[in-house]
Symmetry: C2
Subunit: 351 residues, 2 copies
């Protein structure tokens, strides 16, 4: 029997609420499909930060390195600046473990409706492949003339050939297993160093995949296309920032942020990958039992898929679809009155 060691970091706010339910579902799937999940829980969070002065211990990365997967709730809490909470946990983990792919599949789940008029579920299914280790999210930069009227800030973006090539290649490989189409987000007309470089590498990689239809589109126009003609998008590859914006938009256009899972993937398997919902910690509704656990449950399915438990992963997705279709155990954001726990329990039963 396969036994997987999973590091669970519920984090803050609704991260805690939804992780409990998702673990319940994952354990049920494991029991049914003949493997087991050994959970280790870590209290790394903004709460820890306010007490101990750091989101995680100094050797946090080392503590996680031997796990088979990392299951993250959400971090963020009022009073702790975002750039502290995220650069103290999420972003360093993504980088230390070379999770250079942020994979964000979206689809219109049954029983939910899109904000877009007259769109069918088939038209609203795509996956955002986001670069997750460099680009616009860089710690390089700083202030000059601080406090003076002529103060200014520099913020450096860093794009490496290795980093750009591997994410684009991943997108092409993925497209081969799906529609055979890749759309690259660019902005080479405005950002005249980074994006022409990105485009150049995109063209080079595309040349090696003559069977995949490759196109590029400026990120502003691509955002517009996502609401005007989403059916023509399938695999969308973008830089750290562009992938972030486009994946939130894609989630909003399909089922909403409560439904969107996300994998921070180290494709070589050398380091553990990390799975989380796209949504944040939503402190305003935390602990009230009303958070929608679907995104976190689906993030769990992505984790199982990554571990090779494909059948169990698919079973979870099917169970979620069934519960949403039945429509009796929906959380308030889905128009129901059920609690987080009831939705989680319903999915567990449907398994």
């Amino acid at each position: 029997m396969n036994d997987y060691r999973i590091a669970s970091i519920p984090g803050d706010g609704i991260g805690v609420d939804v992780t409990v339910e998702a673990r319940k579902v994952l354990d049920a799937a494991a029991a049914k499909h003949g493997f087991s999940l050994a959970w280790n829980e870590f209290d790394w969070s903004c709460e820890r930060y306010t007490k101990a002065g750091a989101m995680m211990p100094d050797d946090g990365v080392d503590q996680l390195a031997a796990f088979d997967g990392i299951f993250l709730g959400a971090v963020g809490f009022p009073g702790v600046p975002d750039h502290v909470s995220l650069w103290g946990l999420l972003i360093p983990l993504r980088r230390a473990f070379q999770q250079y792919v942020n994979l964000r599949p979206v689809r219109l789940l049954p029983g939910t409706t899109s904000v877009l008029a007259g769109r069918s579920a088939e038209e609203l299914e795509m996956v955002i492949v986001r670069e997750n280790s460099e680009g616009e999210y860089s710690a390089i930069g700083g202030r000059h003339n601080t406090g003076r009227p002529d103060e200014f800030v520099l913020q450096e973006s860093v794009f490496t050939r290795v980093g750009v090539e591997r994410i684009i290649r991943y997108a092409f490989e993925l497209a081969r297993t799906r529609s055979g189409r890749v759309t690259s987000a660019t902005k080479s007309n405005g950002l005249i160093h980074s994006m022409p470089f990105w485009d150049e590498i995109f063209a080079e990689v595309a040349a090696g995949y003559p069977d995949v239809r490759a196109e590029q589109c400026h990120v502003d126009a691509l955002a517009a296309r996502m609401v005007q003609a989403p059916e023509r998008l399938d695999v969308v590859v973008g830089s750290n920032l562009f992938g972030d914006i486009l994946s939130d938009l894609a989630a909003a256009v399909t089922g909403g942020l409560g439904m969107a899972p996300s994998g921070n993937i180290n494709p070589s398997g050398e380091y553990p990958s990390m799975f989380e919902a796209v949504h944040g910690s939503a402190p305003d509704i935390a602990g009230q039992g009303i958070a929608n656990p679907v995104a976190q449950i689906l993030a769990g399915a992505m984790m199982l898929e990554h571990l090779g438990e494909t059948v169990a992963a698919q079973a979870i997705r099917t169970a979620v679809d069934e519960v949403l279709t039945a429509g009796t155990e929906l959380t308030p954001d889905l128009g129901g009155t059920a609690t987080t726990t009831r939705l989680g329990t319903a999915v567990t039963k449907a398994l």
Copy 2:
């Protein structure tokens, strides 16, 4: 009688098609409302670039400096890289003339439908105030280790206190004349130098406008809100890149890109301001008489407004509304069969 000297730069592709119609409308408005427009046409374009090696002459900026307004079609043509065409004309003009405000009002025009389900016109009206002179669009940066496997690119963003403060202040002043609400696009959790600086200045400026409701939102979440809850947005202020993405998205969510005008404004009046459609040169449909001239006509109305001809500007907007409501003279993108010229003529008549 007021006489305004206008520099017209039709540019490339449909820029030429729509500028002709917009000038017709503007001249009719001038005749009716007792002022005149003296047009000077400049052939600055990608076509010029392919012949003369530059989008505009060396003294291009000087040639335009004495005009009361600049009316720009669109630039861009296959074979001329975007970063050449835009950094050779549009972007230098925005900067030389300190057009630090890029104002992009959007609304759902009569007779058109939103891609969003069940939204009324009142819910779909907002204005994007985009920083237009610095930020992510910077020429600073370059390549290292060119052609080697360890090649990388740096791209610098530059945010100055002066630049950030003036655009945010502009947004607050504008909000006072509208809903009294300003939403600032940030991403301080990912971009840890530039955006915390932006947020800090936003808070400082907001303190001086206790009558305006100020909020900030990460750009990814804001893109999601634009499709999920557009009715809660009115004045949205963002950096050069964020404003660009959000304004295309806002245009797509309301009437579409064929309807969205844009003003590059120098608020002090020291230099001429420049007005254009948000859409590009669309070379694939250029010269066929099918381009929608509405965005360019509305850009003309913005120009008149800026020149102080408020009544004429409003008359043009009303005429556009009437023609769209009547619905007999619509271009193909609006579901009709009329030509660019017929739509332009219809608006002229409605005046």
